[in-house]
Amino acid sequence: MNDSAAIETTDLTRSFIDNPAVDHLNLRIRKGELFGLVGPDGAGKTTTMRLLAAILEPSAGDATVAGHSIRNDAESVKEKIGYMPQRFGLYEDLTVMENILFYADLYGVSRRERPPRIERLLGFSNLAPFKDRLAGKLSGGMKQKLGLACALVHTPEVLLLDEPTNGVDPVSRRDFWKILYGLLKEGITIFVSTAYLDEAERCMRVGLMHKGRIMMLDEPSAIKRSLPGSMIEFGARNARAAAGIVRAAPGVRSVSVYGDRLHVLLDDRAQAGHVRNALDVAGVGVLSEREILPSLEDVFISMVGK
């Protein structure tokens, strides 16, 4: 991996009527990196994407994307990036091939370059057998792949994907990520936003965004290790009924019920005994107890609160 930056933001800020949607963002994404921007609705993810895609002007600060300033050189940025917004503009009454050709026109891809490039796009997106199908007749997962193919028709250096797998089933989601890995091999930098933290674990680094600010930025495993306290999984035959009892035990910060298991976040590992006692007193049998690594979701929720 190359250490030079594909995206670098400096106090990037965008306000909508005094309300900062993106608030002094300082990010540095390396070339060839797969970076995930994670946060709840309204955190500022889409605004960040639109700023980086140079289709929205910053209120303050600047960003360099693929070597060009979004403030002073927006047109050059647009030529170097592929941007797939949440509602990618596919033409449902055009075929797969016609959609790709339309975007090739839009990006001014030369006639000579088109055939090999389109063949490759159809190949890696597994859309070749469907090239004559109307886009409106594709499944959700296939539409996402076509959107991606269209966003890549001009071989961009940086790919910006805004919640690309929203509403897509797990099998299609995996396919989609495989395609992204294929692009990494070619050296493309991928900046992807998602509201799903299990998906964020696939990124090389993750930024947790909340209220326009990045609250934490690191590798997923480092983020998980950063959660203060200790996460203990208790197996119990009637875990759901036990949740209320556990919540009241000393040192318990949060409790989540997963079927027959409780995930209990404690200030300290040593306090697990209190939880066990509380459960014993209530007549709830503890079947198992082990320390587990918190999920990204656990970290996120403990940071932004309920």
């Binding site: 499944s139 929203n166 797990p170 990520w177 799903y196 949740a243």
Partner: protein, 317 residues
Amino acid sequence: MLNETDGSPINHNSIAVKVTGLTRAFGEFIAVDSIDLEVRRGEIFGFLGPNGAGKSTTIKMLCGLLAPSSGSGTVGGYDIATRSEDIKKNIGYMSQRFSLYDDLTVEENIRFFSGIYTIPAADRTARSEWVLEMAGLRERRSALTRELPGGFKQRLALGCAMLHKPDILFLDEPTSGVDPVSRRSFWDMISGMARAGTTVFVTTHYMDEADYCDRLALIYRGRIIAEGTPGELRQKHMQREVLEIETDRLVDALDVLGSNNIDSSIFGSVLHATVDDQMRAEQKIRERLSSAGITVTRIEKIVPSLEDVFVTLIESA
């Protein structure tokens, strides 16, 4: 187990939903192909499957909205073929596109649905307060629904689906497009309902959510291909193993494994490879990576995620 609200025992052995050989064809296409399901009272039952697998068709039949082509079943003790009106009175249903009125306030929406469910006038205030409390919407009762943050809308929709205190709740992808913090508080709400004795039948795409369920069934091409608790699915149905591989060159390593037909993905700074035989695969991975000049610092077996299980089952179905 004791019921949290009144201390009465909940009989987990009694059955809330039972179907046998349930089938629905649309012309030549068999959307649901002779499935058997049994959901116990007070259970959170997760019904999983990719788009078009038959999830929504099944839910529609269970809710009495669509007649089965063949097979039989009961919901809340009522026959789905003959007693669909009784079923509708005893279930709550919330779909991905719940029909709240955006230009009504929270309280007005609740009042509107109280009318639809013909809640007696004398009970309406109390029932409305109960819903507001459960959904954490007391302070927002006069807010326009349109102006509610996404997660609160979901909870209001769930509250409205619970106004008539149904025994069984059907949720069809209730958290689609909801952010992580809201999703977790939504599941807390569902968990509270199950604790109070409501049976919850839920479909979801998100495998991390499947872990909230007591039991799961996986449907694919109209057939149930696996069933069990999340733990059982991980143990019994995952014939393949997942190895975590740490190297000095992530993307190059992924490329080498891919060209050797080893199914692998990036997870942060490591790779996860799904393999048939740990010993043989580990040796092969070490050989191939080292001959490409890549240093392997660690390989270890990890607990597969439900998504791993799900994808493996579907690929081998």
